[in-house]
Assembly symmetry: C2
Homo-oligomer: 484 residues x 2
Amino acid sequence: MENWLTKRAKLNPNKTALIIEHSDFTFSELNSTVQLCASKLHNKLHKGQRAALFISNSFNGYIAILALQQLEVEIVFLNSRLSKEELDFQIHDSKADLCIIDDSSNHEQIDKVDTDKILLSDILSLKSDINYQPAAEFHNESVTSIMYTSGTTGRPKGVLQTFGNHFYSAIGTSLNLGINDRDSWVLAVPLFHISGFSIMMRSLIYGIPVYLVTSFNENYINKILINERATIISLVPTMLKRLLNKLPSGSSYNDHFKCVMLGGGPIDNWTLLRCNMIKIPVIQSYGMTETASNVVALNFRDADKKVGSSGQPLFPVQVRITNAKREGIGDIEIKAPNVAKGYLNHQDLFDKKMTSDGFYRTGDIGYLDDESYLYIKGRKDDMIISGGENIYPEEVENTYSKVQGLENIFVVGIKNDDWGEVPVAYIMLNENANLTAEDLKGFGRDKLAHYKVPKEFRLVTSVPTTASGKVLRRKLNTVDYEKL
Amino acid sequence: MENWLTKRAKLNPNKTALIIEHSDFTFSELNSTVQLCASKLHNKLHKGQRAALFISNSFNGYIAILALQQLEVEIVFLNSRLSKEELDFQIHDSKADLCIIDDSSNHEQIDKVDTDKILLSDILSLKSDINYQPAAEFHNESVTSIMYTSGTTGRPKGVLQTFGNHFYSAIGTSLNLGINDRDSWVLAVPLFHISGFSIMMRSLIYGIPVYLVTSFNENYINKILINERATIISLVPTMLKRLLNKLPSGSSYNDHFKCVMLGGGPIDNWTLLRCNMIKIPVIQSYGMTETASNVVALNFRDADKKVGSSGQPLFPVQVRITNAKREGIGDIEIKAPNVAKGYLNHQDLFDKKMTSDGFYRTGDIGYLDDESYLYIKGRKDDMIISGGENIYPEEVENTYSKVQGLENIFVVGIKNDDWGEVPVAYIMLNENANLTAEDLKGFGRDKLAHYKVPKEFRLVTSVPTTASGKVLRRKLNTVDYEKL
């Protein structure tokens, strides 16, 4: 297919593409700005290379992403909440040729990483490279984005997402929601997540405006949703609750508002009821980095009658349950053209997650009802979802294994009204150890994104295990403990 | 992707899929009926075979098409207006394993063809084959439909259309029009044409109802468009004019009506003005059998300001003009995932129509304005478009070359208010020939679809030629003639 940005600039030059605070940009203006940025970047990067991108939700970050696509440079999206050590790993694991840093982000951690770096402002002060030419086409099979996910074993792995992945993802969503050119999408989730980046790609594919929210200010977002012609917003449960809590009583969103697309974990019924009362439709959805956003979603008509379900597989998506046990609950497997190409440097590990007939083993557990609505019941592993971010206990435990005096640590999620879940740690200390909870939190914050650091350390003398000695994390909440 | 029909039956079992006269069928009912038909057909046909299908716009015809897709049998769509000889050629050229005939069609011509045939009613009286299993998936690269097109040289060629061609075609249109699940499409063009078949495929992909019109009765169609919640209708110019002429004065279409999708040749400004006055939006479009329906279309906003244009290339489509001469007019070339896979048995001829960088040479001539709107200016060859059907003068002339006493015949299109163009013939007779216009029309009707038979025979003594002796068909209208 033709380059999505230049194509859209030809189809809808005068239509609004991006609204950020009090400025808005047409597709033609967006394209010109991106091309200028790309021509400057071309001094540093060229087709086939790979750039790590450290951005916040900023105008420059938005432009930089699109500019790297124009150059046919693969983008390694760095989560700006990661620690120095985590960033270091991802930059070096991906062999990024250059690391680009958004000035407006909090770049303290990335500044410590020893790699070839450049500030976005420094790129913009370069001259345009006269040899620059934008990509003529975006090829379905070409990788455009790499996003790291952790997992139960080993280090985080870079998920290879192609243009085709993003295209089919966007099309699956439009066939479900019925997008038209009067729609617009509020982007209040991180640009470096698939949730945010996929909205950018939809904007190009559908030809609709994005409201880019630079920081999650509830009053500001509510104001957009009440006063502007914004029709869709993607949120995780925490964010939705924060918006509802600040919504002026008696008010609801604008008459054209279509829905909240809700991902990143389960939502409580009370919040759904509140939304229902003030006529804010909530479309629950299910997707992951490996499927380039949503693969399953509810639709408007079913929102009431299928409470608790993530919905039906989108049109290009197949979902099946294998190894089903009682009540049909089993492993959720996905086949879809939006399933990623693989893991960077670890194709073997990705292939292990694929069945011989092309289904991706999600690691989630659930069931399909007799009308093929999916209900998520948990994880095969012990992944914690906190405010839409995935946390693997094993990664946190491995990090802490280096702490002297700490004999054992087991991390689990506990329910939390604000974040859905938060991680807490059950620990055993060596006899002479002299560690405080502050010591342990401090250690974690140096090594891990802050959302991964246990919010509480619980001292125990024993832990429940299986007969073979494997720790049963799910039973840790039954153990007596003393708060450290 | 999962089988589109079974998928849609799972996603929207209770939604209306098909409305035909006073009956309507949900996707679940449609699926059950199709599966029953397919299980019976399985006695005669199996995966990998090819069936020729002779149908009218009937319920059974609709079901048969979908049933053959379930069996993974390639469908050769026969134009029911073809002569016995033309049908014979297509059935044998395609090596169809079976020819299926719709009882409700006028099947006089096909009955004369010597081939393995079966009536749809006879299939329905068979027992179901218990070994039948519907296709699990529809593969983008698999051929599902074969439609014959004539051309300037040689016999008609079967265009190989894949599921992927139809998918991208449907998506291109939905991204342009903004389809949602309250839309519906009136199918009043032939099912055996890409114009009709593509509406069936869109119905499955979008999950919207089709109003199937069995015969083109203006009052009936106007009634649907006035009284029902029908939102889109595909028409060729002749049909649109017939509907407007019968539209009760003072009335227009229902409040939800979105547009007439107009294809199959140019439209006059007077008709567009009439539509504009009574608020019937007309979306002009451009496509062909080789591109599995539309590749270029106007959108609502531009209908007024770009009168005479076919619109902009749809999102997955690239259009370029090569060999441009004055005013930028040149050859129209198309690159898109909906360009067909090739010609059956004649891949070499198809490959000749493809450029080395993957563009298809349409044979049409036109230009793109500076906002990339396409204007069609004609054909490189002398193809005539009459009531939406393509007529190649060479094919008609070759057929007539066997008539004794006819020394020369040159066929051209002349303007006609009802049909856009109709074919007329300029002829020279041998000295002693004793041929009447009726003789010549009768001969043509035996050998050719009736719409291809010249409406008038004009006796001339000389024809304009180039210096090298090639006849200039376009200048024939300047020659003195005597009506035969």
